[in-house]
């Protein structure tokens, strides 16, 4: 099975790895599949596509998609700023980008609800404009944007750092305007990283729970995300309903994981040729 290496310990470490992996990850995941198999396909379909389930997918995937798009735009701008421009406070800005990733989701949710509430630090300026963020899909989108921000920045940043200045100089020497260099030279090189960042932010957002429940208000059909609906089903001991929804989410999540791995491979090839 193995080749190379005069080192000992393969059997022991591999054995331990597989046993621990099976106990913590594989057996629990297999349980979900087994529990789904107890349902007839028709029952499973009905549970997974009920009106309330469909409404929750719309909220979850819609808000996650918009949030990931916002992150691609502002995340790229942030990465560009951090890599290309020198200014006081750049190190601090770079550190702050990691805060959404480090902050426990419950704290993020509470913090965003506090500032966006009608009397909150930001909400009080939105209310006169007729914008309500708390208990609306807008609030959910903002919460998902918050938690997804570091993913795009940290994916695009290293690619920008590796970008050879010679390429831009060559483009300039050959008569390209700055705008042409940006759109025809830099943007194509960044594309795999942008897509990866988008996919990471989106994948994180669809499963998110803690930062959303405080701000969403959890109104059925309007602001109920799928993870919350799963939680509700579990609290009502409706395990079949929870399992069906869980399966849908799991399939989407694993598809995203495969897409992200594929994008990573593409990105590395692209970087190798650049």
């Amino acid at each position: 099975m193995r080749r190379r290496s005069a080192l000992p310990g393969f059997g022991l470490t591999m054995g331990y790895t597989l046993v621990y992996l099976a106990l913590i990850v594989l057996i629990p995941l297999a349980t979900l599949v087994l529990k789904t198999a107890e349902l007839s396909p028709a029952a499973l379909w009905e549970l997974a596509t009920s009106r309330r389930a469909m409404a929750s997918y719309r909220v979850t995937f819609g808000a996650s998609f918009v949030a990931a798009i916002i992150n691609v735009v502002f995340g790229t701008l942030l990465a560009w700023t951090l890599v290309r421009y020198k200014f006081t406070g750049r190190g601090v800005l770079d550190a702050i980008v990691d805060i959404p990733f480090a902050l426990p989701t419950a704290v993020s949710g509470l913090a965003l609800t506090a500032v966006l509430a009608p009397n909150g630090w930001i909400g009080r300026f939105l209310t006169p404009l007729g914008i309500a963020a708390v208990f609306t899909p807008l609030g959910i989108t903002l919460a998902l944007t918050f938690i997804g921000l570091p993913f795009v920045v940290r994916t695009v940043q290293p690619v920008l750092e590796e970008l050879e200045p010679e390429v831009e100089e060559a483009a300039a020497v050959l008569g390209a305007t700055r705008r042409q260099t940006l759109t025809r030279v830099i943007l194509p090189t960044l594309t795999p990283a942008l897509l990866t960042g988008f996919a990471l932010a989106f994948a994180r957002a669809i499963g998110e729970y803690g930062s959303v429940v405080f701000i969403s208000g959890n109104k059925q059909y309007e602001t109920e995300i799928t993870p919350l609906l799963i939680m509700t089903r579990l609290e009502q001991f409706d395990y079949a309903g929870a399992t069906a929804l869980g399966l849908v989410m799991l399939v989407v999540s694993f598809a995203m994981l495969l897409a992200i791995n594929g994008l990573g491979a593409w990105s590395r090839r692209r970087a190798g040729h650049a």
Binding site: A6, L21, Y85, G210, Y239, F254
Partner: protein
């Protein structure tokens, strides 16, 4: 010095740069700094005494204890796993290696709520082995073991993910030399490998601990929310908030925020050591 024309062609005019920087700083300020500041602002709204009271409240203290206990069990177990997995994966070539790496990452792709649900489906009253476990007088779901299991699941890959690429980049020559010179496998690991990977390991431990203490969704599913017994700090925040104890909720949340900021600073310091040991 570069010619002015070259600067103009490979960078943006000063005013464009200023606008871009302003947008970047404004976005992060409004989106990240203001909410974080609001946590501390709300926590201290009724003064320091009220802040202190919310934290020394017996139920809050019980939540703090449980949070440390769960992390204290989950993190060491994931450290042992991370070291074993990275030794097997980074030091040997075998069939299915890249599949194994992907499978180790799976928990990161699973929604926390679903992670918690898996353990309910396994150990709950109507779960796969739930009845058997109950017959033997073991409580897993709505008790400490369930909280620990959910925490282990969500922090599962953190140490392994740090160590596998680090050990791969370092290569195995020094370990091989130690073995050829007669060192035992354990001696080689403790004296040769461990000193080489210690900063990377520490980085993984900080990441793992921070996530373990802050986990909300997965733990929320399996906890059962029994006050003073199965409530971790993040769950306590939610309960206080739902009971309109806003100031107390923010006070407890500020503890978690401080924890997160400390972990962030620690990670930055350690990351520099990983790059230049």
């Amino acid at each position: 010095m570069i010619e002015p024309s070259a600067v103009a062609a490979t960078s943006e005019p000063v005013w464009v740069r200023r606008i871009v920087i302003a947008i970047a700083v404004g976005f992060v300020g409004l989106f990240v700094v203001v909410p974080l500041a609001a946590v501390f602002g709300e926590a201290l709204r009724n003064g320091l005494a009220a802040y202190g009271n919310a934290i020394v409240d017996p139920i809050a203290l019980a939540a703090i204890k449980l949070t440390f206990l769960a992390a204290g069990v989950a993190v060491p177990l994931n450290v042992v796993f991370g070291i074993a997995a990275s030794w097997a994966i980074a030091r040997f070539r075998f069939a299915g290696r890249s599949v194994l790496i992907t499978v180790i990452d799976l928990p990161l792709a699973v929604s926390p709520v679903i992670a918690g649900m898996l353990f309910i489906l396994l150990f709950g009253k109507h779960g796969l082995v739930g009845p058997w476990v109950a017959d033997h007088g073991i409580k897993i779901v709505f008790a400490l073991p369930g909280i620990v299991l959910a925490t282990i699941f969500v922090t599962f890959p953190f140490v392994a993910r740090e160590l596998i690429p680090l050990m791969e980049s370092q290569g195995a020559e020094e370990e091989e030399a130690a073995i050829v010179l007669g060192a035992s496998g354990w001696q080689t690991f403790v004296r040769v490998t461990l000193p080489k990977i210690k900063w990377g390991l520490l980085y993984g431990v900080v990441l793992c601990t921070a996530r373990a203490m802050g986990e909300f969704g997965a733990v929320s599913v399996v906890s059962g929310h029994i006050r003073g017994r199965t409530n971790t700090l993040p769950l306590h925040v939610e309960i206080l908030y739902n009971e309109y104890e806003y100031q107390a909720a923010f006070a407890v949340a500020s503890l978690l925020a401080i924890l997160a900021l400390v972990s962030l600073v620690a990670r930055r310091v350690i990351a520099r050591r990983v790059e230049s040991p």
